[in-house]
């Protein structure tokens, strides 16, 4: 430091950073922390007191809350598993088809396939509600056209099928995201790798599974964690299709809709912000666990595949 001119104070760095940091901290991080802290408080004898983990004991153990919570968590896991088993494989398959060399009209296909992803949940929810409605004959007519009319049922109104139906609608909407991310990864695989494979006589399906798939595993990992965060934070589609009660008989209730009901109350139950904060905290921990699992287990294993 002795022979260098003393650095001028660089205020401009602070000026550039201040607005973003301020908004982000005040509107996002502080409320998030406050919510986590609020989960440790409750009202006793009309006064707000620190209760430690009591709220969580209620949430996990008191039937008034725990029944709804475990039901929502179970449904949410099912919702996520269906996305992983259906949405992501379809996304991968579509991406693989789109990246076939010398294919024409790729831009048109991409635009069409990505269309549902840009629509709002409200639109998608109502659109499918109408199409699946037994009042309007679209779904039964279409099934009738292939001779399967007897399979039609008012799925959204039946406890056994409602959650699966809603999940499939969500999959219909979001298949575009894995498709695009994986498509992007596929088209960046160097040509030399593909040519080398072709020289060795590895083509078609074999080439995809033996050569390309291992190379895009990191992207598939990323798609997995994005699906996880998105699914455990979902709310809008269920609310638009089945309402805040997530009917029939809570069979489509997931953590997002459960949080909404606990926080704001519904029908007979009054809203409770302390328990709402506890639900939000539980969701936060679940999402954090998922992200950490991705960062420390999946991404680390994947790294050796990266080129």
């Amino acid at each position: 430091m002795t022979d260098r001119p003393k650095a001028r104070p660089r205020w401009h760095i602070a000026v550039f950073l201040a607005p973003a940091l301020l908004v982000y901290t005040v509107i996002m991080l502080v409320p998030l922390m406050q919510t986590l802290l609020l989960a440790l408080e409750n009202v006793r004898d009309g006064e707000r007191v620190f209760v430690g983990l009591d709220n969580f004991r209620m949430l996990f153990g008191d039937p008034r809350f725990s029944e709804g919570f475990w039901n929502a968590l179970r449904n949410n896991v099912y919702f996520f598993v269906l996305h992983m088993l259906i949405q992501n494989p379809i996304g991968i398959a579509l991406a693989a088809l789109l990246s076939v060399p010398r294919l024409r009209g790729v831009a048109i296909y991409r635009t069409a396939l990505f269309l549902p992803t840009i629509l709002s949940f409200v639109i998608v929810g109502f659109l499918w509600k109408l199409l699946l409605s037994p009042l309007w004959g679209v779904a039964p007519n279409l099934l009738g056209a292939v001779g399967l009319k007897s399979l039609f049922a008012p799925w959204l109104g039946q406890e056994a099928y409602a959650l699966t139906t809603v999940s499939l609608v969500s999959i219909w909407q979001f298949v575009g995201i894995p498709m695009m991310l994986i498509y992007a990864a596929l088209i960046t695989i160097p040509n030399e790798v593909i040519e080398a494979a072709e020289c060795d006589g590895i083509t078609g399906f074999k080439q995809f599974f033996k050569i390309k798939l291992p190379l895009i595993l990191p992207t598939i990992g990323l798609v997995g964690v994005l699906t996880f965060v998105g699914n455990f934070n979902a709310f809008d589609l269920i609310y638009a299709m089945q309402g805040a009660l997530a009917g029939p008989n809570f069979s489509t209730d997931i953590l997002g809709t459960y949080l909404y009901r606990i926080f704001f109350g519904f029908q007979l139950q009054a809203g409770d912000r302390y328990m709402g904060a506890a639900v939000a905290t539980a969701m936060f921990v679940i999402i954090l666990l998922g992200v950490c699992f991705y960062l420390f287990v999946i991404q680390r294993r994947m790294r050796r595949y990266q080129m």
Binding site: H12, A20, Y24, T35, L103, F114, L115, I187, D236, F263
Partner: protein, 280 residues
């Protein structure tokens, strides 16, 4: 080897077939709804899969929507909220990204990670405290509350994407500017910002869609009649008019059309944005 060309053509045909089939699954449901919104009630029920013919065409649904609800106001609200948030996300995001990618200082890595945290953790989980804050600030049922929340929500990803792009802006250019005596602010606004325009457009599209489509925050922070956004307005209208099918279909179509037009105009940009982002 003479069979190679035909088999390859056959294979391509199969690929097209599969893609066309799935493209129909994606597009047909939207098409059926938009198509039926232009028909009479009788035709909607009797032949849902038929396009509107002169004998079955009707705009009755649209008339109900326009006269029975304030869709124009909702559009205006959505537009104000989306453009307002977009402006702040882009401006603040670009400024922060420039600071993080251009200068070396002590907290650089820490602040980068601090902001990146927001990419993975949904802002929704802080709703309980956000509502409390907005109540005490007197901002409930104002569009300002929504703009603030969406700005905070959009910033982490914007900073992340923009700093990737800003690293690629040539140092020579900036140093030439410095030798010419430009201040750091002018270097940012005059030299760097125009160069990262494509990245700004990408971030804009990414930020815009979730804001325009969000239901959660309008429902909680601004459910009042004068501050409803299109998404919330459509949700409530659809709930009230659930038995009036022409009106419901028309309301849905009205909510779809602006996004559809924007999407068709910008789909290239959007898709390029996603593909470029994923390469990184």
């Amino acid at each position: 080897m003479s069979t190679r060309a035909p088999t390859q053509r056959f294979r391509l045909a199969l690929v097209h077939l599969a893609l066309i089939a799935y493209a129909l699954i994606s597009v047909l449901p939207v098409l059926v709804v938009v198509m039926n919104s232009f028909k009479t009630r009788r035709a909607i029920f009797n032949a849902p899969l038929e396009p509107p013919l002169p004998s079955t065409a009707s705009l009755a649904g649209y008339r109900t929507v326009i006269t029975q609800s304030d869709f124009l106001l909702y559009f205006q609200n959505s537009l104000v909220v989306t453009i307002g948030s977009l402006f702040f996300v882009l401006l603040f995001g670009a400024m922060a990204a420039f600071a993080l990618s251009e200068y070396r200082f002590k907290l650089n890595t820490f602040l980068g990670l601090f902001l990146a945290l927001g990419i993975m953790v949904p802002i929704r989980l802080g709703t309980v405290a956000i509502l409390q804050m907005m109540v005490s600030a007197g901002l409930v049922n104002t569009l300002t509350a929504l703009v603030l929340v969406y700005t905070a929500q959009g910033l982490p990803l914007a900073v992340f994407i923009l700093s990737e792009f800003m690293r690629n802006v040539s140092d020579d250019l900036k140093n030439a500017g410095r030798i010419d005596g430009l201040s750091e602010y002018r270097i940012f606004f005059v030299l760097v910002l125009p160069l990262v325009r494509p990245a700004l457009a990408t971030v804009a599209v990414f930020t815009m869609i979730p804001i325009w489509n969000d239901l959660w925050f309008p429902l909680i922070l601004a459910p009042g009649e004068s501050t409803k956004t299109v998404t919330l307005g459509a949700q409530i209208f659809l709930g009230q008019f659930v038995t009036n099918w022409e009106a419901v279909l028309s309301a849905l179509s009205l909510a779809i059309l602006p996004i559809l037009v924007l999407y068709l105009l910008f789909s290239r940009q959007l898709i390029r944005g996603i593909t470029a982002g994923a390469v990184k």
